[in-house]
Symmetry: C2
Subunit: 239 residues, 2 copies
């Protein structure tokens, strides 16, 4: 039985609020009883350093009552993950994040430890990699990982920062919905469009949508549809 | 001496106008004297078929006085390109486009024929692949090409559909400028942000920006800056 316990958060920050402020109650509850959370800073947004990024996350986690160290601070990151009780993977560039995890040989250890109960929280890129693949990231492919297969902690794909089409836009780039439709011309798995302000909580095979917004579900050859936090998301775990 | 002759167009369509309507004079002039243009439909926007996509392009090119066939209609696409006088590569998904060109073994023949004078027009994804790599595409990585190295018909990278930050946006996804800054944490080449309504015309080592708008130039470790159509872009070809 898979003991996974995941908090899959669309964005670290919503407009007009501080870093992780809007979901801090959920974070406190998710990591309840944990002394130290290991931060994975590899997605390094805007190219900032691992130290700088860890400092941002640590300030907030300390405020919430948790110790925090960056995974890059350990001589043996694999051993650090084997001994960790909880990890938080921050957002930034999903390609850079996945590439680092692959190159440091950390995919397997995260998968096996999560299935044994290591608590995993991700935001944005850190959420994207909980899916089967990162083929539905919004990020620019600034590096080229050898595979787009991700952690597969859940049996579907994520699109964090899901954005509805803007009816007033004069820009001709593809909408998010068009892009995910294109994805389904080549791939079969369900994609969950997770809007900013939403997160999924996965505990074993139980899954709930939290936050005030609905999520948009994309299934191959079906019209996309909305599910509310009160709806049953169990089918996502049963594929 | 490289005989390249390129029309690198940001978008096929600007808001409120028909397909290729806003730049049709430039297209007529670029392909002047050519009887038939070969269309490369591999980027297939929204997952439409190669036939459907070719039909869209052909209707417009016929109206402008050119014959057109899709590259997928030939039994031997490599031979078709060797014998072609002009090609037009349409937009869609840049990853799908590059993957097809690689898998069909067409990269080398396009590179060598373009250097001998085969006229090449691209829009959007078809423009993106004229750069050194597709690491600065806006597209979703719905397939995983074995490399992101592109046609390198010019010695820099492109960002078509370049979009200025929206000061009123409440969305927390990265701006295009932030993404390109991240690109420069891992890559050195200049990136040209080409706005919708703009195109570059490259003839040998001469390069001009056309259309009514400025372009945004991103150099590693420099503040991005604007260049007008009247400015000298020669430095881009001299790297």
């Amino acid at each position: 039985m898979n003991q996974r316990n995941l908090l899959i958060v669309s964005t670290s920050t919503v407009h007009g609020k501080g870093y992780l402020a809007y979901c801090e109650d959920a974070i406190k509850s998710f990591f309840d009883g944990i002394e130290e959370v290991i931060f994975i800073p590899f997605a390094r947004p805007g190219g900032i350093s691992h130290d700088e990024y860890t400092s941002v996350a640590k300030t907030k986690f300390n405020e919430l009552g948790f110790k925090m160290r960056g995974l890059h601070e350990f001589d043996n990151p694999k051993k650090a993950l084997e001994e960790a009780k909880a990890i938080f993977t921050g957002g930034g560039n999903t390609f850079v994040l996945l590439d680092q995890l692959i190159n440091q040989g950390l995919i397997d250890v995260i998968q096996s430890k999560v299935s044994e109960g290591l608590r995993y929280m991700g935001t944005s890129a850190g959420s994207n990699i909980t899916g089967l693949t990162i083929n539905t990231t919004n990020d620019m492919p600034i590096v080229h990982p050898k595979t787009l297969n991700a952690l597969a902690l859940v049996p579907f794909n994520l699109n964090p920062h899901y954005l509805d089409p803007d009816p007033n836009s004069k820009h001709m780039g593809e909408t998010r919905e068009t892009r995910i439709k294109e994805f389904h011309a080549y791939n079969d798995q369900i994609v969950v469009g997770l809007r900013e302000g939403s997160w999924l909580h996965v505990s074993g095979n139980k899954i709930t949508l939290e936050g005030p917004l609905s999520a948009r579900i994309f299934e191959k050859d079906k019209t996309p549809y909305e599910l509310q936090p009160s709806d049953d998301f169990t089918f996502l775990m049963e594929q």
